[in-house]
Symmetry: C2
Subunit: 306 residues, 2 copies
Protein backbone atom coordinates (compact mmCIF):
# COMPACT_ATOMS: atom_id res chain seq x y z
CA UNK A 1 0.00 0.00 0.00
CA UNK A 2 2.73 2.54 0.88
CA UNK A 3 4.02 2.42 -2.70
CA UNK A 4 0.54 3.21 -4.00
CA UNK A 5 0.62 6.30 -1.81
CA UNK A 6 4.18 7.22 -2.79
CA UNK A 7 3.32 6.87 -6.48
CA UNK A 8 0.28 9.12 -6.16
CA UNK A 9 2.29 11.69 -4.21
CA UNK A 10 5.03 11.67 -6.85
CA UNK A 11 2.69 11.87 -9.82
CA UNK A 12 0.75 14.78 -8.39
CA UNK A 13 3.81 16.39 -6.76
CA UNK A 14 1.57 16.64 -3.77
CA UNK A 15 2.83 15.42 -0.38
CA UNK A 16 -0.45 16.48 1.17
CA UNK A 17 -3.56 14.87 2.53
CA UNK A 18 -6.86 16.57 3.15
CA UNK A 19 -8.39 15.86 6.54
CA UNK A 20 -12.10 15.25 6.12
CA UNK A 21 -13.01 16.22 9.68
CA UNK A 22 -16.34 17.95 9.22
CA UNK A 23 -17.93 19.92 12.05
CA UNK A 24 -21.47 21.16 11.40
CA UNK A 25 -20.12 24.71 11.74
CA UNK A 26 -18.00 24.20 8.64
CA UNK A 27 -20.95 23.18 6.47
CA UNK A 28 -22.73 25.88 4.45
CA UNK A 29 -26.28 26.64 5.57
CA UNK A 30 -27.80 25.58 2.25
CA UNK A 31 -26.41 22.04 2.55
CA UNK A 32 -27.64 21.71 6.09
CA UNK A 33 -31.06 23.05 5.09
CA UNK A 34 -31.38 20.46 2.32
CA UNK A 35 -30.28 17.64 4.58
CA UNK A 36 -32.59 18.71 7.41
CA UNK A 37 -35.44 19.00 4.94
CA UNK A 38 -34.95 15.36 4.00
CA UNK A 39 -34.14 13.89 7.41
CA UNK A 40 -35.09 16.54 9.95
CA UNK A 41 -32.73 18.10 12.48
CA UNK A 42 -31.60 14.61 13.46
CA UNK A 43 -28.42 12.57 13.53
CA UNK A 44 -29.44 11.28 10.09
CA UNK A 45 -29.77 14.88 8.90
CA UNK A 46 -26.34 15.77 10.27
CA UNK A 47 -24.83 12.67 8.65
CA UNK A 48 -26.37 13.53 5.29
CA UNK A 49 -25.03 17.10 5.49
CA UNK A 50 -21.57 15.79 6.34
CA UNK A 51 -21.49 13.41 3.40
CA UNK A 52 -22.78 15.95 0.86
CA UNK A 53 -20.22 18.46 2.14
CA UNK A 54 -17.37 15.93 1.91
CA UNK A 55 -18.41 14.90 -1.57
CA UNK A 56 -18.27 18.43 -2.94
CA UNK A 57 -14.83 19.02 -1.47
CA UNK A 58 -13.55 15.72 -2.84
CA UNK A 59 -15.05 16.47 -6.26
CA UNK A 60 -13.36 19.87 -6.24
CA UNK A 61 -9.91 18.74 -5.12
CA UNK A 62 -9.38 15.05 -5.87
CA UNK A 63 -7.25 15.65 -8.96
CA UNK A 64 -4.76 17.66 -6.86
CA UNK A 65 -4.26 15.28 -3.96
CA UNK A 66 -3.18 11.68 -3.41
CA UNK A 67 -5.11 10.97 -0.23
CA UNK A 68 -7.71 11.97 2.31
CA UNK A 69 -7.74 11.40 6.05
CA UNK A 70 -11.21 11.20 7.56
CA UNK A 71 -11.08 11.67 11.35
CA UNK A 72 -13.58 9.07 12.51
CA UNK A 73 -14.40 10.94 15.73
CA UNK A 74 -16.11 13.63 13.70
CA UNK A 75 -18.47 10.96 12.37
CA UNK A 76 -18.76 8.96 15.60
CA UNK A 77 -20.07 12.09 17.30
CA UNK A 78 -23.23 11.61 15.24
CA UNK A 79 -23.63 8.00 16.34
CA UNK A 80 -24.58 5.22 13.97
CA UNK A 81 -25.81 7.57 11.21
CA UNK A 82 -22.49 9.40 11.47
CA UNK A 83 -20.61 6.15 10.97
CA UNK A 84 -22.73 5.44 7.90
CA UNK A 85 -21.57 8.80 6.54
CA UNK A 86 -18.00 7.80 7.41
CA UNK A 87 -18.33 4.57 5.42
CA UNK A 88 -19.91 6.39 2.47
CA UNK A 89 -17.04 8.88 2.58
CA UNK A 90 -14.41 6.12 2.56
CA UNK A 91 -16.11 4.43 -0.39
CA UNK A 92 -16.59 7.62 -2.34
CA UNK A 93 -12.98 8.72 -1.93
CA UNK A 94 -11.72 5.32 -3.04
CA UNK A 95 -13.97 5.49 -6.12
CA UNK A 96 -12.25 8.79 -6.91
CA UNK A 97 -8.89 7.02 -6.75
CA UNK A 98 -7.76 8.50 -3.45
CA UNK A 99 -5.87 6.62 -0.74
CA UNK A 100 -7.97 6.73 2.42
CA UNK A 101 -6.10 7.08 5.70
CA UNK A 102 -8.56 6.31 8.49
CA UNK A 103 -7.62 8.48 11.46
CA UNK A 104 -8.91 6.11 14.12
CA UNK A 105 -6.03 6.03 16.64
CA UNK A 106 -7.13 2.62 17.88
CA UNK A 107 -4.98 0.39 20.03
CA UNK A 108 -5.90 -2.24 22.61
CA UNK A 109 -4.90 -5.69 23.86
CA UNK A 110 -4.15 -8.21 21.13
CA UNK A 111 -7.55 -9.82 20.54
CA UNK A 112 -9.26 -6.44 20.63
CA UNK A 113 -6.77 -4.77 18.31
CA UNK A 114 -7.41 -7.74 16.04
CA UNK A 115 -11.08 -6.81 15.89
CA UNK A 116 -10.27 -3.15 15.14
CA UNK A 117 -7.78 -4.17 12.46
CA UNK A 118 -10.32 -6.50 10.85
CA UNK A 119 -13.11 -3.95 10.98
CA UNK A 120 -11.19 -0.95 9.69
CA UNK A 121 -8.59 -2.43 7.31
CA UNK A 122 -9.20 -6.14 6.94
CA UNK A 123 -12.14 -8.50 6.80
CA UNK A 124 -14.42 -10.56 9.02
CA UNK A 125 -16.07 -13.90 8.33
CA UNK A 126 -19.79 -14.29 8.90
CA UNK A 127 -20.85 -17.87 8.25
CA UNK A 128 -19.60 -18.68 4.75
CA UNK A 129 -19.15 -15.04 3.72
CA UNK A 130 -16.35 -12.56 4.14
CA UNK A 131 -16.88 -8.82 4.53
CA UNK A 132 -14.53 -5.85 4.69
CA UNK A 133 -16.66 -3.59 6.91
CA UNK A 134 -14.94 -0.19 6.69
CA UNK A 135 -12.08 -1.13 4.35
CA UNK A 136 -9.88 1.93 4.56
CA UNK A 137 -6.41 1.75 2.98
CA UNK A 138 -4.36 2.86 5.97
CA UNK A 139 -5.07 3.73 9.59
CA UNK A 140 -3.49 5.50 12.55
CA UNK A 141 -2.64 3.36 15.60
CA UNK A 142 -1.98 4.25 19.26
CA UNK A 143 1.12 2.52 20.71
CA UNK A 144 0.46 2.88 24.47
CA UNK A 145 -0.23 -0.86 24.91
CA UNK A 146 3.00 -1.98 23.23
CA UNK A 147 3.70 -4.60 20.59
CA UNK A 148 0.83 -6.94 21.18
CA UNK A 149 -1.59 -4.08 20.61
CA UNK A 150 0.09 -3.30 17.28
CA UNK A 151 0.81 -6.80 15.97
CA UNK A 152 -2.76 -7.51 14.74
CA UNK A 153 -2.54 -4.38 12.59
CA UNK A 154 0.79 -5.59 11.17
CA UNK A 155 -0.81 -8.92 10.35
CA UNK A 156 -3.62 -7.21 8.43
CA UNK A 157 -1.09 -5.00 6.64
CA UNK A 158 0.61 -8.17 5.44
CA UNK A 159 -2.44 -10.18 4.45
CA UNK A 160 -4.52 -7.37 2.95
CA UNK A 161 -1.84 -4.98 1.63
CA UNK A 162 -2.66 -2.10 3.95
CA UNK A 163 -0.58 0.39 5.93
CA UNK A 164 -0.56 2.05 9.34
CA UNK A 165 0.85 5.19 10.92
CA UNK A 166 1.77 4.77 14.58
CA UNK A 167 1.46 7.81 16.86
CA UNK A 168 5.00 8.84 17.76
CA UNK A 169 4.96 12.58 18.51
CA UNK A 170 1.51 14.11 18.23
CA UNK A 171 0.78 17.68 17.17
CA UNK A 172 -1.18 18.87 20.20
CA UNK A 173 0.19 21.33 22.78
CA UNK A 174 0.37 18.81 25.63
CA UNK A 175 1.83 15.95 23.59
CA UNK A 176 5.08 16.42 25.50
CA UNK A 177 3.48 15.64 28.84
CA UNK A 178 4.41 11.97 28.47
CA UNK A 179 5.91 11.69 24.98
CA UNK A 180 8.85 14.05 25.60
CA UNK A 181 9.89 12.65 28.96
CA UNK A 182 13.18 10.81 28.97
CA UNK A 183 13.81 7.20 29.91
CA UNK A 184 17.47 8.19 30.39
CA UNK A 185 18.78 7.14 27.01
CA UNK A 186 15.69 7.96 24.94
CA UNK A 187 12.45 9.86 25.27
CA UNK A 188 9.14 8.02 25.09
CA UNK A 189 8.56 9.25 21.54
CA UNK A 190 12.03 8.04 20.53
CA UNK A 191 11.36 4.67 22.14
CA UNK A 192 8.14 4.42 20.13
CA UNK A 193 10.03 5.48 16.99
CA UNK A 194 12.51 2.65 17.54
CA UNK A 195 9.61 0.21 17.81
CA UNK A 196 8.14 1.66 14.60
CA UNK A 197 11.37 0.63 12.89
CA UNK A 198 11.13 -2.87 14.33
CA UNK A 199 7.41 -3.25 13.58
CA UNK A 200 7.98 -2.07 10.03
CA UNK A 201 11.01 -4.18 9.21
CA UNK A 202 8.91 -7.07 7.89
CA UNK A 203 6.63 -4.81 5.90
CA UNK A 204 9.00 -3.11 3.49
CA UNK A 205 7.84 -2.16 -0.01
CA UNK A 206 10.74 -0.57 -1.87
CA UNK A 207 12.36 2.16 0.23
CA UNK A 208 9.48 2.47 2.64
CA UNK A 209 7.62 0.34 5.12
CA UNK A 210 3.89 -0.08 5.43
CA UNK A 211 4.43 0.97 9.03
CA UNK A 212 4.72 4.74 9.14
CA UNK A 213 4.60 7.27 11.95
CA UNK A 214 2.62 10.31 13.02
CA UNK A 215 4.78 13.32 13.90
CA UNK A 216 3.21 16.76 14.38
CA UNK A 217 4.15 19.73 12.15
CA UNK A 218 4.13 21.79 15.33
CA UNK A 219 7.41 20.17 16.45
CA UNK A 220 9.81 20.72 13.52
CA UNK A 221 13.03 19.95 15.41
CA UNK A 222 11.67 16.62 16.53
CA UNK A 223 10.45 16.03 13.01
CA UNK A 224 13.99 16.42 11.71
CA UNK A 225 15.35 14.07 14.36
CA UNK A 226 12.64 11.49 13.79
CA UNK A 227 13.13 11.65 10.00
CA UNK A 228 16.69 10.44 10.58
CA UNK A 229 15.73 7.98 13.29
CA UNK A 230 13.09 6.19 11.17
CA UNK A 231 14.58 6.27 7.66
CA UNK A 232 12.02 3.85 6.17
CA UNK A 233 8.89 5.14 7.86
CA UNK A 234 6.60 7.44 5.94
CA UNK A 235 5.69 10.31 8.24
CA UNK A 236 2.10 11.52 8.43
CA UNK A 237 2.33 15.13 9.58
CA UNK A 238 -0.76 16.67 11.20
CA UNK A 239 -0.84 20.16 12.66
CA UNK A 240 -0.20 22.20 9.51
CA UNK A 241 -2.34 25.30 9.07
CA UNK A 242 -5.02 25.77 11.68
CA UNK A 243 -2.91 24.07 14.37
CA UNK A 244 0.02 26.39 13.66
CA UNK A 245 2.53 24.52 11.47
CA UNK A 246 3.81 26.29 8.32
CA UNK A 247 5.62 25.20 5.16
CA UNK A 248 9.03 26.32 6.36
CA UNK A 249 8.65 24.06 9.41
CA UNK A 250 8.25 21.04 7.21
CA UNK A 251 11.47 20.54 5.25
CA UNK A 252 13.00 18.44 8.01
CA UNK A 253 10.22 15.88 7.87
CA UNK A 254 11.20 14.96 4.29
CA UNK A 255 14.10 13.14 2.69
CA UNK A 256 16.17 15.11 0.22
CA UNK A 257 14.23 13.69 -2.73
CA UNK A 258 11.03 15.28 -1.44
CA UNK A 259 9.56 11.97 -0.33
CA UNK A 260 9.10 10.49 3.12
CA UNK A 261 6.31 12.63 4.52
CA UNK A 262 2.72 13.59 3.82
CA UNK A 263 1.28 16.70 5.42
CA UNK A 264 -2.32 16.88 6.57
CA UNK A 265 -4.54 19.92 6.68
CA UNK A 266 -8.14 19.62 7.80
CA UNK A 267 -9.87 22.82 8.88
CA UNK A 268 -7.58 24.96 6.72
CA UNK A 269 -8.91 23.20 3.62
CA UNK A 270 -12.43 22.07 4.34
CA UNK A 271 -13.48 25.27 6.10
CA UNK A 272 -11.52 27.52 3.72
CA UNK A 273 -14.70 29.32 2.63
CA UNK A 274 -15.01 30.71 6.18
CA UNK A 275 -11.61 32.40 6.04
CA UNK A 276 -11.25 36.05 5.00
CA UNK A 277 -8.59 34.91 2.55
CA UNK A 278 -11.12 32.93 0.52
CA UNK A 279 -14.26 34.96 1.07
CA UNK A 280 -14.42 35.86 -2.63
CA UNK A 281 -15.79 32.37 -3.24
CA UNK A 282 -18.75 32.85 -0.97
CA UNK A 283 -20.62 30.13 0.81
CA UNK A 284 -22.06 28.55 -2.34
CA UNK A 285 -18.65 27.92 -3.90
CA UNK A 286 -17.09 26.36 -0.78
CA UNK A 287 -15.70 23.50 -2.87
CA UNK A 288 -13.78 25.94 -5.05
CA UNK A 289 -12.51 27.70 -1.93
CA UNK A 290 -11.21 24.35 -0.68
CA UNK A 291 -9.57 23.71 -4.04
CA UNK A 292 -7.82 27.07 -3.89
CA UNK A 293 -6.70 26.36 -0.32
CA UNK A 294 -5.21 23.05 -1.49
CA UNK A 295 -3.35 24.88 -4.28
CA UNK A 296 -2.01 27.44 -1.80
CA UNK A 297 -0.94 24.68 0.56
CA UNK A 298 0.80 22.88 -2.31
CA UNK A 299 2.66 26.08 -3.25
CA UNK A 300 3.77 26.56 0.34
CA UNK A 301 4.90 22.97 0.81
CA UNK A 302 6.51 22.53 -2.61
CA UNK A 303 8.58 25.66 -1.98
CA UNK A 304 9.80 24.23 1.29
CA UNK A 305 10.38 20.66 0.15
CA UNK A 306 11.40 20.49 -3.51
CA UNK B 1 -21.73 8.80 38.25
CA UNK B 2 -19.02 7.06 40.29
CA UNK B 3 -21.30 7.02 43.35
CA UNK B 4 -24.03 5.34 41.32
CA UNK B 5 -21.51 2.62 40.51
CA UNK B 6 -20.23 2.39 44.10
CA UNK B 7 -23.78 2.11 45.42
CA UNK B 8 -24.62 -0.70 43.02
CA UNK B 9 -21.40 -2.53 43.89
CA UNK B 10 -22.12 -2.20 47.61
CA UNK B 11 -25.75 -3.27 47.39
CA UNK B 12 -24.95 -6.35 45.34
CA UNK B 13 -21.65 -7.05 47.13
CA UNK B 14 -20.32 -7.42 43.64
CA UNK B 15 -17.16 -5.56 42.62
CA UNK B 16 -17.39 -7.14 39.19
CA UNK B 17 -18.27 -6.09 35.68
CA UNK B 18 -19.13 -8.40 32.81
CA UNK B 19 -17.32 -7.65 29.59
CA UNK B 20 -19.76 -7.92 26.71
CA UNK B 21 -17.12 -8.65 24.07
CA UNK B 22 -18.88 -11.11 21.80
CA UNK B 23 -16.98 -13.04 19.16
CA UNK B 24 -19.10 -15.10 16.77
CA UNK B 25 -17.33 -18.20 18.11
CA UNK B 26 -18.86 -17.61 21.53
CA UNK B 27 -22.42 -17.52 20.20
CA UNK B 28 -24.42 -20.77 20.20
CA UNK B 29 -25.21 -22.17 16.76
CA UNK B 30 -28.98 -21.87 17.26
CA UNK B 31 -28.78 -18.10 17.81
CA UNK B 32 -26.61 -17.64 14.75
CA UNK B 33 -28.93 -19.82 12.67
CA UNK B 34 -31.95 -17.70 13.68
CA UNK B 35 -30.14 -14.45 12.98
CA UNK B 36 -28.81 -15.67 9.62
CA UNK B 37 -32.29 -16.89 8.71
CA UNK B 38 -33.61 -13.35 9.20
CA UNK B 39 -30.71 -11.34 7.78
CA UNK B 40 -28.54 -13.81 5.88
CA UNK B 41 -24.88 -14.49 6.59
CA UNK B 42 -24.25 -10.75 6.55
CA UNK B 43 -22.94 -8.07 8.86
CA UNK B 44 -26.59 -7.46 9.82
CA UNK B 45 -26.94 -11.15 10.63
CA UNK B 46 -23.81 -11.10 12.78
CA UNK B 47 -25.02 -7.95 14.56
CA UNK B 48 -28.40 -9.53 15.30
CA UNK B 49 -26.74 -12.66 16.70
CA UNK B 50 -24.50 -10.52 18.90
CA UNK B 51 -27.40 -8.55 20.33
CA UNK B 52 -29.59 -11.60 21.01
CA UNK B 53 -26.62 -13.30 22.68
CA UNK B 54 -25.86 -10.26 24.85
CA UNK B 55 -29.50 -9.90 25.82
CA UNK B 56 -29.78 -13.45 27.13
CA UNK B 57 -26.60 -13.08 29.20
CA UNK B 58 -27.77 -9.76 30.61
CA UNK B 59 -31.20 -11.22 31.41
CA UNK B 60 -29.54 -14.14 33.18
CA UNK B 61 -27.04 -12.15 35.24
CA UNK B 62 -28.19 -8.54 35.64
CA UNK B 63 -29.46 -9.03 39.21
CA UNK B 64 -25.99 -10.17 40.31
CA UNK B 65 -23.86 -7.41 38.80
CA UNK B 66 -23.63 -3.62 38.94
CA UNK B 67 -22.22 -2.98 35.49
CA UNK B 68 -21.30 -4.23 32.05
CA UNK B 69 -18.37 -3.25 29.86
CA UNK B 70 -19.01 -3.64 26.14
CA UNK B 71 -15.75 -3.60 24.20
CA UNK B 72 -16.70 -1.50 21.17
CA UNK B 73 -14.07 -3.13 18.92
CA UNK B 74 -16.05 -6.35 18.97
CA UNK B 75 -18.99 -4.44 17.47
CA UNK B 76 -16.94 -2.18 15.20
CA UNK B 77 -15.54 -5.30 13.53
CA UNK B 78 -19.01 -5.77 12.03
CA UNK B 79 -19.12 -2.26 10.65
CA UNK B 80 -22.19 -0.04 10.89
CA UNK B 81 -24.57 -2.92 11.70
CA UNK B 82 -22.20 -3.93 14.49
CA UNK B 83 -22.32 -0.43 15.93
CA UNK B 84 -26.10 -0.57 15.84
CA UNK B 85 -25.88 -3.73 17.96
CA UNK B 86 -23.49 -1.87 20.28
CA UNK B 87 -26.01 0.94 20.73
CA UNK B 88 -28.86 -1.51 21.32
CA UNK B 89 -26.70 -3.28 23.91
CA UNK B 90 -25.93 -0.02 25.73
CA UNK B 91 -29.62 0.90 25.79
CA UNK B 92 -30.77 -2.54 26.89
CA UNK B 93 -28.28 -2.74 29.74
CA UNK B 94 -29.28 0.70 30.99
CA UNK B 95 -32.95 -0.35 30.90
CA UNK B 96 -31.96 -3.25 33.13
CA UNK B 97 -30.44 -0.77 35.59
CA UNK B 98 -26.79 -1.55 34.83
CA UNK B 99 -23.99 1.00 34.64
CA UNK B 100 -22.50 0.82 31.15
CA UNK B 101 -18.75 1.27 30.89
CA UNK B 102 -17.94 1.80 27.21
CA UNK B 103 -14.54 0.24 26.57
CA UNK B 104 -13.55 2.58 23.75
CA UNK B 105 -9.99 3.58 24.69
CA UNK B 106 -10.32 6.78 22.67
CA UNK B 107 -7.89 9.66 22.95
CA UNK B 108 -6.84 12.32 20.45
CA UNK B 109 -6.03 16.02 20.16
CA UNK B 110 -8.44 18.31 22.01
CA UNK B 111 -11.06 19.05 19.37
CA UNK B 112 -11.17 15.42 18.32
CA UNK B 113 -11.39 14.07 21.85
CA UNK B 114 -14.23 16.54 22.25
CA UNK B 115 -16.09 14.81 19.44
CA UNK B 116 -15.47 11.37 20.96
CA UNK B 117 -16.59 12.58 24.39
CA UNK B 118 -19.75 14.09 22.93
CA UNK B 119 -20.56 11.02 20.87
CA UNK B 120 -19.95 8.39 23.54
CA UNK B 121 -20.84 10.12 26.82
CA UNK B 122 -22.27 13.53 26.07
CA UNK B 123 -24.46 15.14 23.49
CA UNK B 124 -24.33 16.91 20.13
CA UNK B 125 -26.49 19.68 18.77
CA UNK B 126 -28.09 19.30 15.35
CA UNK B 127 -29.96 22.44 14.43
CA UNK B 128 -32.34 23.11 17.31
CA UNK B 129 -32.16 19.57 18.70
CA UNK B 130 -29.78 17.82 21.05
CA UNK B 131 -28.92 14.14 20.83
CA UNK B 132 -26.88 11.81 23.03
CA UNK B 133 -25.69 9.42 20.32
CA UNK B 134 -24.22 6.48 22.24
CA UNK B 135 -24.83 7.75 25.78
CA UNK B 136 -22.81 5.27 27.83
CA UNK B 137 -22.30 6.04 31.53
CA UNK B 138 -18.53 5.78 31.66
CA UNK B 139 -15.75 5.20 29.14
CA UNK B 140 -12.10 4.18 28.97
CA UNK B 141 -9.62 6.80 27.71
CA UNK B 142 -6.08 6.50 26.31
CA UNK B 143 -3.64 9.03 27.83
CA UNK B 144 -0.83 9.00 25.23
CA UNK B 145 -1.66 12.50 23.97
CA UNK B 146 -1.56 14.09 27.43
CA UNK B 147 -3.94 16.48 29.16
CA UNK B 148 -5.47 18.19 26.20
CA UNK B 149 -6.62 14.81 24.89
CA UNK B 150 -8.27 14.04 28.22
CA UNK B 151 -9.74 17.43 29.14
CA UNK B 152 -12.77 17.21 26.83
CA UNK B 153 -13.74 13.96 28.57
CA UNK B 154 -13.40 15.70 31.96
CA UNK B 155 -15.66 18.46 30.71
CA UNK B 156 -18.34 15.98 29.68
CA UNK B 157 -17.99 14.17 33.03
CA UNK B 158 -18.76 17.50 34.72
CA UNK B 159 -21.63 18.65 32.55
CA UNK B 160 -23.34 15.27 32.02
CA UNK B 161 -22.47 13.40 35.26
CA UNK B 162 -20.38 10.70 33.60
CA UNK B 163 -17.11 8.98 34.48
CA UNK B 164 -13.94 7.79 32.78
CA UNK B 165 -11.21 5.25 33.42
CA UNK B 166 -7.81 6.29 32.07
CA UNK B 167 -5.44 3.53 30.90
CA UNK B 168 -2.60 3.43 33.41
CA UNK B 169 -1.17 -0.12 33.40
CA UNK B 170 -2.89 -2.39 30.92
CA UNK B 171 -3.36 -6.15 31.34
CA UNK B 172 -1.68 -7.37 28.17
CA UNK B 173 1.72 -9.15 28.12
CA UNK B 174 3.57 -6.33 26.37
CA UNK B 175 2.07 -3.49 28.41
CA UNK B 176 5.45 -3.01 30.03
CA UNK B 177 7.17 -2.20 26.75
CA UNK B 178 6.54 1.51 27.29
CA UNK B 179 4.41 1.72 30.45
CA UNK B 180 7.01 0.15 32.79
CA UNK B 181 10.00 2.12 31.58
CA UNK B 182 11.35 4.63 34.05
CA UNK B 183 11.67 8.37 33.62
CA UNK B 184 14.22 8.26 36.45
CA UNK B 185 11.90 9.16 39.31
CA UNK B 186 8.75 7.48 38.03
CA UNK B 187 7.71 4.95 35.41
CA UNK B 188 5.41 5.98 32.59
CA UNK B 189 2.47 4.24 34.25
CA UNK B 190 3.22 6.06 37.51
CA UNK B 191 3.44 9.37 35.66
CA UNK B 192 0.03 8.68 34.13
CA UNK B 193 -1.30 7.69 37.57
CA UNK B 194 -0.16 11.04 38.95
CA UNK B 195 -2.01 12.79 36.14
CA UNK B 196 -5.11 10.70 36.90
CA UNK B 197 -5.03 12.20 40.40
CA UNK B 198 -4.74 15.70 38.98
CA UNK B 199 -7.41 15.17 36.30
CA UNK B 200 -9.76 13.72 38.91
CA UNK B 201 -9.29 16.34 41.60
CA UNK B 202 -12.11 18.52 40.28
CA UNK B 203 -14.46 15.61 39.80
CA UNK B 204 -14.80 14.19 43.29
CA UNK B 205 -18.06 12.60 44.42
CA UNK B 206 -17.69 11.48 48.03
CA UNK B 207 -14.51 9.45 48.50
CA UNK B 208 -14.01 8.80 44.82
CA UNK B 209 -13.44 10.75 41.66
CA UNK B 210 -15.26 10.36 38.38
CA UNK B 211 -11.79 9.89 36.92
CA UNK B 212 -10.72 6.32 37.54
CA UNK B 213 -7.92 4.18 36.16
CA UNK B 214 -7.42 0.92 34.29
CA UNK B 215 -4.88 -1.42 35.93
CA UNK B 216 -4.58 -5.04 34.79
CA UNK B 217 -5.24 -7.98 37.16
CA UNK B 218 -2.20 -9.60 35.61
CA UNK B 219 0.10 -7.17 37.47
CA UNK B 220 -0.91 -7.53 41.15
CA UNK B 221 2.18 -5.85 42.62
CA UNK B 222 1.65 -2.79 40.48
CA UNK B 223 -2.02 -2.91 41.41
CA UNK B 224 -1.12 -2.63 45.08
CA UNK B 225 1.26 0.23 44.43
CA UNK B 226 -1.21 2.07 42.21
CA UNK B 227 -4.03 1.59 44.75
CA UNK B 228 -1.93 3.60 47.20
CA UNK B 229 -0.76 6.10 44.61
CA UNK B 230 -4.29 6.99 43.43
CA UNK B 231 -6.36 6.84 46.62
CA UNK B 232 -9.46 8.44 45.09
CA UNK B 233 -9.46 6.70 41.73
CA UNK B 234 -11.75 3.74 41.21
CA UNK B 235 -9.71 1.04 39.50
CA UNK B 236 -11.18 -0.90 36.61
CA UNK B 237 -9.33 -4.22 36.56
CA UNK B 238 -9.30 -6.21 33.32
CA UNK B 239 -7.37 -9.43 32.84
CA UNK B 240 -9.18 -11.64 35.38
CA UNK B 241 -9.98 -15.17 34.25
CA UNK B 242 -9.16 -15.92 30.64
CA UNK B 243 -6.21 -13.48 30.67
CA UNK B 244 -4.73 -15.17 33.74
CA UNK B 245 -5.58 -13.05 36.81
CA UNK B 246 -7.11 -14.86 39.83
CA UNK B 247 -8.98 -13.76 42.96
CA UNK B 248 -5.93 -13.94 45.22
CA UNK B 249 -4.14 -11.51 42.91
CA UNK B 250 -6.84 -8.91 43.47
CA UNK B 251 -6.83 -7.95 47.13
CA UNK B 252 -4.24 -5.26 46.60
CA UNK B 253 -6.39 -3.40 44.09
CA UNK B 254 -8.99 -2.72 46.79
CA UNK B 255 -9.17 -0.50 49.85
CA UNK B 256 -9.65 -2.25 53.17
CA UNK B 257 -13.41 -1.66 53.07
CA UNK B 258 -13.70 -3.74 49.90
CA UNK B 259 -14.30 -0.73 47.68
CA UNK B 260 -12.04 1.00 45.21
CA UNK B 261 -11.91 -1.51 42.38
CA UNK B 262 -14.17 -3.32 39.95
CA UNK B 263 -12.93 -6.46 38.23
CA UNK B 264 -13.86 -7.30 34.67
CA UNK B 265 -14.28 -10.71 33.15
CA UNK B 266 -15.33 -11.10 29.53
CA UNK B 267 -14.69 -14.45 27.88
CA UNK B 268 -14.75 -16.27 31.23
CA UNK B 269 -18.38 -15.22 31.69
CA UNK B 270 -19.92 -14.82 28.26
CA UNK B 271 -18.31 -17.95 26.79
CA UNK B 272 -18.71 -19.97 30.00
CA UNK B 273 -20.89 -22.56 28.21
CA UNK B 274 -17.85 -23.54 26.13
CA UNK B 275 -15.77 -24.44 29.21
CA UNK B 276 -15.64 -28.02 30.54
CA UNK B 277 -16.49 -26.62 33.94
CA UNK B 278 -19.92 -25.50 32.77
CA UNK B 279 -20.69 -28.13 30.14
CA UNK B 280 -23.61 -29.47 32.20
CA UNK B 281 -25.62 -26.45 30.99
CA UNK B 282 -25.23 -27.31 27.33
CA UNK B 283 -25.36 -24.86 24.49
CA UNK B 284 -29.04 -24.03 24.89
CA UNK B 285 -28.64 -22.83 28.48
CA UNK B 286 -25.62 -20.62 27.83
CA UNK B 287 -27.21 -17.79 29.82
CA UNK B 288 -27.44 -19.97 32.90
CA UNK B 289 -23.83 -21.03 32.39
CA UNK B 290 -22.86 -17.35 32.36
CA UNK B 291 -24.89 -16.75 35.51
CA UNK B 292 -23.09 -19.62 37.26
CA UNK B 293 -19.73 -18.26 36.07
CA UNK B 294 -20.62 -14.86 37.57
CA UNK B 295 -21.52 -16.55 40.86
CA UNK B 296 -18.22 -18.44 40.88
CA UNK B 297 -16.33 -15.25 40.10
CA UNK B 298 -18.15 -13.47 42.92
CA UNK B 299 -17.24 -16.26 45.35
CA UNK B 300 -13.61 -16.06 44.29
CA UNK B 301 -13.42 -12.29 44.54
CA UNK B 302 -15.46 -11.90 47.72
CA UNK B 303 -13.17 -14.42 49.44
CA UNK B 304 -10.16 -12.37 48.43
CA UNK B 305 -11.57 -8.92 49.12
CA UNK B 306 -14.07 -8.95 52.00
Amino acid sequence: MIQKLVKAISEKKAPVVVGLDPMLDYIPAAIKADAFQKYGETLEGAAEAVFVFNKEIVDAASDLIPAVKPQIAMYEQFGVPGLQAYKKTVDYCQEKGLVVIADIKRGDIGSTSGAYAAGHLGAVKVGGNTFAPFDADMATVNPYLGSDGVNPFLEVCKTCDKGIFVLVKTSNPSSGEFQDRSFGDVTLYEAVADRVNAWGSDLMEGEYSNVGAVVGATYPEMGRELRARMPHAYILVPGYGAQGGTGKDLAGFFHKDGLGAIVNSSRGIIAAWKQDKYKEFGEAKFGEASRKAVQDMLDDIRAAVY
